[in-house]
Amino acid sequence: MSLLEVEGLVAGYGMVSVLDGLSLSVDEGEAIVVLGANGAGKTTTLRAISGMIPSRGSIRFDGREVSGRRPDQLLVAGMAHVPQGRGTITALTVEENLRIGASSRRDGDVEADLESWYQTFPRLGERRDQLAGSMSGGEQQMLAIARALVSRPKLVLLDEPSLGLAPLVTSEVFSRVAELVSQTGTAVLLVEQNAELALDFASRGYVLEAGRIVAEGTAGELHANDAIRRAYLGIDP
């Protein structure tokens, strides 16, 4: 059974409709990518799923219909969202950001967890008392991801982690995230413009155009698809 099942999702901003009946699904522990050009509706998809904007259609998460729920309720249910532009809370320190991330947890292991995050990301440990807003883009992206994962979600929505990062930093971020989610068994729904990296990371993917899914398949199939190679990978077949 799917962890997340979205059917006929319609959403937009004000009178402008961006998503036009989008459907997708994510299985437990699976890494899924949604590819699409600027303005295709990638960010809107994630924002609608996590309840940041109102939507119509069905969103089933972990066996329950969750459309209409607020983001904080969904986080408690096990769905974390790393928004575009990272969304680190700049006026708080690194450690406070992580504590906020863990604020939905009611178990007592948070302290031990923070220590293990500092071991995973030594940069965060070194800067634990520094304001998050003073860190570099790559560090803030790592912090945003760590903050989402420290809530021990079943699913993480990742919105263009490559945005504004240097290529080397981006591939570092992707490989760390891949390690982390495979260790914890967390499912990932990633939206990305950087198709090359994203298809390496994900096992399956969707292609979004003008608010609709126009293609889907395994990462290998999408990688081999001529139209996708031309449009998103910049390769002339």
Binding site: M52, D72, H81, G87, I89, T90, A91, L92, I100, S104
Partner: protein
């Protein structure tokens, strides 16, 4: 010298009350990121609540406690029913600020309606007695105001820096959207902030009322201006700033006009000159945080 000390303590005592009003403003600014123009009128309403409880036979300290609890509910409800439905204050700060100005008028009218304009007064929390400090007679009430202010400031600092709730409030103030994505029930956190600000307003009002003599619906209007002055001086988001700013405003408006004759009739002027100078040198105020952003 004795006169100077006397003026100084009066200034500190009044400044402590401006600082309390300032603390309420800072609490709302830190949780919602906006200025609450109704802070003074909410405090006035709370003071009437306290009077009502005294009138019903409660001792003044219990009446104050009751007024604080009532004010907490009032603040939470005002946020839930009037402020929250407007949506994210960061998106339309002006709309929310204008609504707080409307609240200012509304609460004032409501108090007139309920309590009318009969003469009423509230006794001083620390009585009418005074103590001699270095030859100057200082009212216990003034010393009490400074002491209570210290306790309030410490309590708020502990809440904001050392508790989960305080951390949530700071997170919501900095980035409400991200805080929600981290599982923080934003609306509930904001309600709590408004409740806390209203409670502290009750203390400010009950301290201020004996100063003015009578209790009327325009009780807190001047103190609200002084409260704004205090946090402008100290920094909008700083608890320490509200305290230091409030005391400085209290002292400068009390002491300087006594010695500079042309300021005698415009006691506010020295405080505003001080604010101007500070803002020129440090636009974020004495203790305010400079916004650090990096892209």
């Amino acid at each position: 010298m004795t006169d100077f000390l006397r003026y100084l303590f009066i200034g500190l005592g009044n400044g402590a009350i401006y600082a309390m009003v300032g603390l309420g403003l800072v609490v709302i600014y830190r949780s919602t990121g906006l200025l609450n123009f109704a802070q003074g009128e909410m405090a006035m309403f709370s003071t009437f609540l306290c009077w009502q409880l005294i009138d019903l036979g409660l001792g003044i300290w219990f009446a104050l406690l009751g007024a604080m609890i009532g004010s907490f509910l009032m603040g939470s409800i005002v946020h839930r029913v009037i402020v929250a439905p407007l949506g994210d204050p960061h998106e339309k700060p002006l709309a929310v600020v204008i609504v707080t100005i409307g609240l200012f008028l509304g609460i004032n009218a409501l108090a007139q309606l309920i309590w009318g304009s009969d003469f009423r007064s509230i006794p001083a929390l620390f009585g009418e007695g005074s103590v001699s400090i270095a030859g100057a007679a200082v009212q216990w009430q003034k010393i009490g105001a400074v002491g209570v202010l210290a306790v309030e400031a410490l309590a708020f600092w502990l809440i904001f820096q050392k508790t989960r709730v305080g951390l949530s409030m700071r997170a919501v103030a900095s980035n409400a959207e991200s805080a929600a994505l981290c599982g923080i029930p934003v609306a509930r956190v904001l309600m709590l902030g408004w409740g806390m600000a209203a409670s502290i307003g009750a203390i400010a009002g009950v301290f201020w009322a004996p100063n003015v003599g009578s209790l009327d619906p325009n009780l807190m209007q001047l103190t609200l201006i002084f409260g704004f002055a205090a946090i402008t001086l100290g920094g909008f988001d700083s608890l320490v700033g509200a305290v230091v700013g409030g005391l400085l405003v209290g002292v400068t408006t009390e002491v300087i006009p006594k010695y500079v004759s042309f300021l005698e009739k415009i006691t506010l002027a020295p405080a505003f000159i001080l604010i101007l100078v500070v803002l020129l040198l440090r636009p974020e105020g004495l203790f305010g945080t400079k916004q650090v952003t990096r892209v």
